[in-house]
């Protein structure tokens, strides 16, 4: 039923990828096997996959939540970068404060800055009618420029010689690993936020109102719903999730804000949200899948000498197939 298009798309993607890899003179079946092995084949692979899934499920919410309000936002990468940068500033300013308080404020800073950035797209759409898909991607490029300007300028730690970075957040404030695993606590944060987003969107009056505004803005206006404010809120919450992803990457992976933050998780989130049909719980499974594809990249590179872009090709094929098989869905098209 609703899973059929997904299964068909996965199958077709595997076939297409195998054909493509074979056409380039690489062993096709080995490549497919390595994707499976690199993603889910060992404890190490699982840990790698789960660490990647954590930020991806959050950036996917940056697509999924505005989609509920009828908006197609694809600029999560910018919200992630600026949210991460804002979060990295908190421990620098509040050095010596209690750990939990600082981490909480880091999350808040990332959330507010990321949310504000995406809310700008929602505002342009509602106030000026500017297409939010284009504006959000433009804002992602602007965000990257602002990020580089600040990190290589006034926020640069003079000690970071080869790679411009902000001052380190300090070992005290680093988010550590979940006991018994080599996966940081960010995964738990991500899962909790996804569940929270699902509850908010499916079980509260607010979520229902956002759905009405997204499904039929005119009808929503007629029954007196504040359509503009609902759009803005959906964008703010989505952008906030992406900003939180940036905060987690800073606090758990990099230890400061530098250009490595922009590793493409924002773009991976778009694919994940579409694969999950913008469902906040489905996003978790999708993040596992796309995180797994990303995790298999180094194995493909090491064993078969495939270019690192192989995982991008695989993601692109999956995205195209998913949309093509949307035509099998009898429950009607996704509006966005």
């Amino acid at each position: 039923m609703s899973l059929l298009p997904l299964v068909a798309a996965l199958f077709v993607t595997a076939v297409l990828f195998a054909l493509f890899v074979a056409s380039q003179g690489y062993p096709a079946f080995d490549a497919l096997a390595l994707v499976g092995k690199g993603a889910f084949g060992s404890t190490f692979a699982w840990q790698n996959t789960l660490s990647r899934a954590a930020p991806i499920m959050l950036t996917a919410l940056c697509v999924a939540l505005p989609a509920r309000a009828g908006l197609l936002i694809i600029g999560g990468e910018g919200a992630l970068a600026l949210g991460g940068l804002a979060a990295a500033m908190v421990p620098v300013a509040l050095a010596g404060w209690p750990v939990l308080l600082v981490q909480g404020l880091m999350a808040l800073a990332g959330f507010v800055v990321g949310g504000g950035w995406i809310a700008l797209s929602g505002w342009l759409r509602y106030k000026r009618g500017v297409n939010e898909t284009i504006s959000s991607l433009l804002l992602a490029y602007i965000g990257a420029a602002v990020f580089n300007f600040l990190v290589e300028g006034i926020l640069r730690d003079p000690a970071s010689l080869n790679k411009p970075s902000t001052a380190p957040i300090g070992d005290r404030y680093v988010i550590g690993a979940i006991p018994g695993m080599d996966v940081h606590w960010g995964l738990v944060w991500g899962v909790l936020v996804c569940i929270g987003a699902w509850w908010l969107m499916r079980h509260t009056v607010f979520g229902f109102a956002v759905g009405v505004a997204g499904g039929n803005p005119r009808a929503a206006q007629m029954v007196g719903l504040p359509v503009g404010r609902l759009m803005l809120m959906a964008c703010f919450l989505g952008g906030g999730a992406a900003g939180l992803a940036g905060m987690l990457e800073v606090a758990a992976v990099h230890g400061d804000a530098n250009a490595d933050l922009m590793a493409g998780y924002g773009y991976a989130g778009i694919l994940v949200s579409f694969a999950a049909r913008h469902h906040p719980l489905g996003v978790m499974a999708g993040a596992l899948l796309v995180g797994g594809i990303g995790a298999s990249g180094s194995l493909l590179q090491r064993h078969l000498d495939l270019p690192d872009a192989a995982t991008l090709v695989l993601q692109g094929m999956l995205f195209v197939s998913l949309l093509a098989f949307e035509t099998l869905n009898r429950k009607g098209a996704q509006r966005v």
Binding site: Q24, G70, L72, I74, L124, Y126, K127, R128, G129, V130, N131, T133, I134, S135, L137, L138, L139, Y141, I142, A145, V146, N148, F149, E152, G153, Y267, I270, L271, F274, P307, A309, A310, L312, V313, L314, Q315, G316, M317, F319, V320, L322, L323, A324, E326, T327, N329, G332, A333, Q334, V336
Partner: protein, 311 residues
């Protein structure tokens, strides 16, 4: 004395902007003309960013292998055509959204280009020739500013030709009818879906050529950071130009000038705000979009079937 030197700096800055506008605007021009054709048919192809990157890669590869930049241009157009056909066919399936397919094609095209382009980062391909229009002047800056690439005049002629063809030719009218009112076109016996696929394919062809300009003229090499949103800005530019090819050409020059602002200021010795000035084209696009779009009202000149405008 200081006034005079300030004046010279402004003058050479303007010259650098003019030269930059003509240099940087060509990919904008070709992508926006292509997108203009596609949007006239009632569809939007956001995937032209991916087409641009893929065209840059394939054009560079073929130019390197054959030694002819013109064959490279042709190959870039051809690969753009294929990506366009793919977008056109996918969007023709029932219940498939053209904007979403565009996003997918953007990621697919860039990924594929990065994969296939890995061996092309080192080799040096022959570049396109340029036309020297500033030979009358002894000022090297003026000569430099007026050295234009051969694709720019071709693109400008194409813009006027398209504007004429949209109004005065049979296929131009068919294209606009399909884009404005699919039901009416169907009633008159025009094949709506094939016309849209063809329009997307031609759009992809032109966008591919725009990409080849990046790798074969300016900057003139292939690397993964070659395009950062030019394809997407060109899509926005079409809306600002109100679906008129000649206005697309003017807007492309404006965007080129904005894109040249960062490097021009840098050559004047301003390095501190480098990244911010590089963001100028994106900011300009946003401002122009919010000026030309306005909530609730329909856009003058917009094709009636375009999902981008009346959702």
């Amino acid at each position: 004395m200081s006034d005079a030197s300030g004046g010279i700096a402004v003058g050479s800055l303007l010259l650098a902007l003019l030269g930059g506008a003509m240099r940087v605007s060509t990919p904008f021009l070709f992508v926006s003309l292509g997108e203009c054709i596609t949007e006239k048919s009632g569809r939007i192809n956001l995937g032209l960013e991916g087409t641009l990157v893929f065209g840059a890669m394939s054009g560079y590869g073929v130019a390197y292998l054959t030694g002819s930049p013109w064959l490279g241009i042709l190959a870039a157009g051809g690969s753009g055509l294929l990506l366009g056909v793919m977008h056109g066919l996918l969007c023709s399936l029932p219940r498939v959204n053209d904007i979403a397919v565009g996003i997918a094609m953007m990621l697919f095209g860039t990924g594929l280009a990065f994969f296939l382009g890995k061996p092309l980062i080192q080799p040096v391909a022959p570049t396109l020739p340029s036309l020297v229009l500033g030979g009358w002047s002894s000022n090297t800056q003026i000569q430099e500013a007026l050295r234009i690439n051969v694709l720019l005049p071709i693109g400008i002629v194409l813009a006027f030709a398209l504007r004429w063809a949209f109004v005065h030719t049979r296929w131009g009218l068919a294209l606009r009818l399909v884009g404005d009112n699919a039901a009416a076109a169907r009633a008159l016996g025009y094949p709506v879906i094939p016309v849209r696929i063809a329009a997307t394919a031609v759009g992809g062809f032109l966008a591919g050529i725009g990409g080849a300009f990046l790798s074969l003229y300016y900057p003139g090499s292939w690397n993964e950071g070659l395009s950062s949103g030019q394809g997407l800005m060109a899509v926005a530019l079409v809306i600002f130009a109100r679906w008129d090819p000649v206005r697309c050409a003017l807007a492309a020059l404006l965007f080129g000038a904005a894109g040249a602002l960062g490097p021009a200021l840098q050559s004047q010795g301003m390095t501190s705000g480098y990244y911010l000035f590089n963001a100028a084209p994106y900011v300009l696009t946003l401002i122009l979009m919010s000026m030309s779009w306005s909530s609730g009202r329909s856009l003058a000149g917009a094709p009636g079937e375009l999902s981008l405008v009346n959702r």
